[in-house]
């Protein structure tokens, strides 16, 4: 389904390109993985202290994902807790498996028994939020909306629907979003260390005690750099993974139009699509499902590990 939709979307883009009589694969792909432009946001908001707070596609996606996650999780939990006897059923089974997995396998071994109930909510929120934000990129909702608009709605060029069609669906493919999430991790590490050891002690825990002062001149900058490198790595890993898979799928689907253009016949493009592009990108989408899960897991796990390192200091 994704492949068909993306293909349609690429076709649409190709039609735009047809105005210029050429299909620009790079432009189309970038258009589908990057944020919508700041010049044409979905909702203009004032610029405060030089920061433009306008709502772009990725901001909207963040809100949609957050709203979706909140509603689904809260309603499931509420319905479960309303029972007299706590017997999980339906969606609660899955949610309980996730909660117990995150608590017992990710949080508990890293932060320890004393802090597990303090940090499990953060880790759970990281996991479900990143997972949903990643996964929603695999579902071509806006490509469907584009099809609907193209064939049925025929909205004007500056309508909200047309604005919605611009930009990628995966908010976690944007470095700014993943940097924001990594910032949360960064401060969580400091808060965890501070709560476990006190503010001053936490900073003193960064380097081992009792070394010669010469070593500290070397160690302190290294450890401070390490503090920043960890969230930076989180930022890059998640965003790059989310962007990479989409680019690969889109590039392979672009073959359809590139071949059609080179051969000068749509039949060639259709042949490439049926026998190469669609099967390969279907396989890649299957791979993407794994990547989506793994990246959400890795981000959560590393956050737990970093928090655990701040609580249980080993040198």
């Amino acid at each position: 389904m994704l492949q068909d939709q993306v293909q349609e979307a690429v076709e649409r883009a190709a039609e735009h390109g047809a105005d210029a009589e050429t299909f620009d694969a790079g432009r189309v792909i970038i258009e589908h993985v990057s944020n919508s432009s700041k010049e044409h946001p979905l909702l203009h908001l004032p610029t405060i202290m030089g920061i433009d707070f306008s709502v772009t596609k990725h901001v909207l996606m963040l809100w949609l994902v957050a709203g979706f996650v909140f509603l689904v999780v809260t309603l499931t939990v509420r319905r479960y807790l309303k029972q007299d006897r706590l017997v999980p059923s339906g969606l609660m089974n899955a949610l309980e498996a996730v909660v117990e997995y995150v608590r017992d396998t990710i949080a508990l071994p890293n932060v320890g028994k004393k802090w597990v109930n303090v940090w499990t909510p953060l880790l759970l929120t990281f996991f479900v939020f990143i997972l949903c934000a990643n996964a929603i990129g695999l579902i071509p909702i806006f490509e469907l909306l584009g099809l609907l608009d193209y064939y049925v709605l025929h909205t004007a060029d500056d309508s909200l629907v047309k604005h919605l069609l611009h930009g990628g669906t995966t908010a976690t493919a944007n470095y700014n979003v993943t940097a924001a999430l990594a910032t949360i991790t960064f401060f969580s590490i400091i808060i965890a260390g501070t709560r476990a050891h006190g503010f001053v002690k936490h900073w003193m825990n960064l380097v081992p005690h009792g070394l010669s002062p010469v070593l500290y001149i070397l160690l302190i900058p290294i450890e401070l750099m390490g503090m920043l490198v960890r969230p930076f790595a989180l930022t890059m890993r998640l965003a790059a993974n989310m962007t990479g898979g989409h680019i690969a799928i889109l590039a392979i689907l672009s073959f359809v139009f590139l071949f059609a253009q080179v051969a000068g016949s749509w039949l060639v493009g259709a042949g490439v699509g049926v026998f190469a592009s669609v099967p390969i990108s279907a396989l890649l989408s299957g791979l993407e499902i794994i990547v989506v899960l793994v990246q959400a897991y890795v981000f959560t796990l590393l956050t737990a590990v970093f928090i655990g390192m701040a609580i249980h200091v080993h040198h």
Partner: protein, 166 residues
């Protein structure tokens, strides 16, 4: 840096932080908090139930052993009572038999003594009468009246002779 993939976007950055923090707060308050508490509660409830079951099983085993011991003791007691009463009955029977035998022997001995007494009295009587008769016969024969003193002396002599002969 015209690549749209790496455009810094502070607005989006701050929106993402705010969105996440709001989601975190709401989920912690309405979902994770109560859920984790419920899971902990259920965990301890299950642990307690298992402990209780274990305890009940041990209690049951203990009671079974106790009742078996009681049964064993009761059976032994009953056996002892039966044995004892049987012995008592036996003893009683033996006693009664002994007593009856002694009584019977007493009666027989008494009767024998009575018979002996009667016999010896009869023999005495016969003897006295025989002496008197002999004296009468003798006096008739010798026809001589002895004085009463002689008479008595003769009688005594005769008696002594009879007794010595006897």
């Amino acid at each position: 840096m015209n690549n749209p993939l790496v455009q810094p976007d502070p607005g989006l950055y701050i929106w993402a932080i705010l969105t996440f923090l709001v989601l975190l707060t709401l989920l912690t308050k309405f979902a994770w908090g109560p859920l984790l508490k419920a899971l902990d509660g259920r965990q301890s409830a299950i642990r307690k139930a298992l402990d209780d079951a274990q305890q009940a099983k041990q209690e049951l085993e203990r009671l079974e052993q106790e009742s078996a011991a009681i049964m064993r003791k009761a059976r032994a007691d009953a056996d002892a009572v039966v044995t004892e009463s049987r012995a008592a009955a036996e003893r009683l029977r033996e006693e009664m038999r002994t007593k009856a035998r002694a009584e019977a022997e007493g009666i027989v001995k008494n009767a024998e003594r009575q018979i002996q007494l009667e016999t010896s009295r009869a023999v005495q009587q016969i003897r006295t009468e025989a002496v008197e008769l002999s004296v009468q016969i003798a006096s008739k024969i010798i026809q001589r009246n002895l004085s009463a003193e002689d008479n008595e002396r003769l009688i005594q002599e005769a008696l002594q002779q009879v007794q010595a002969r006897h």
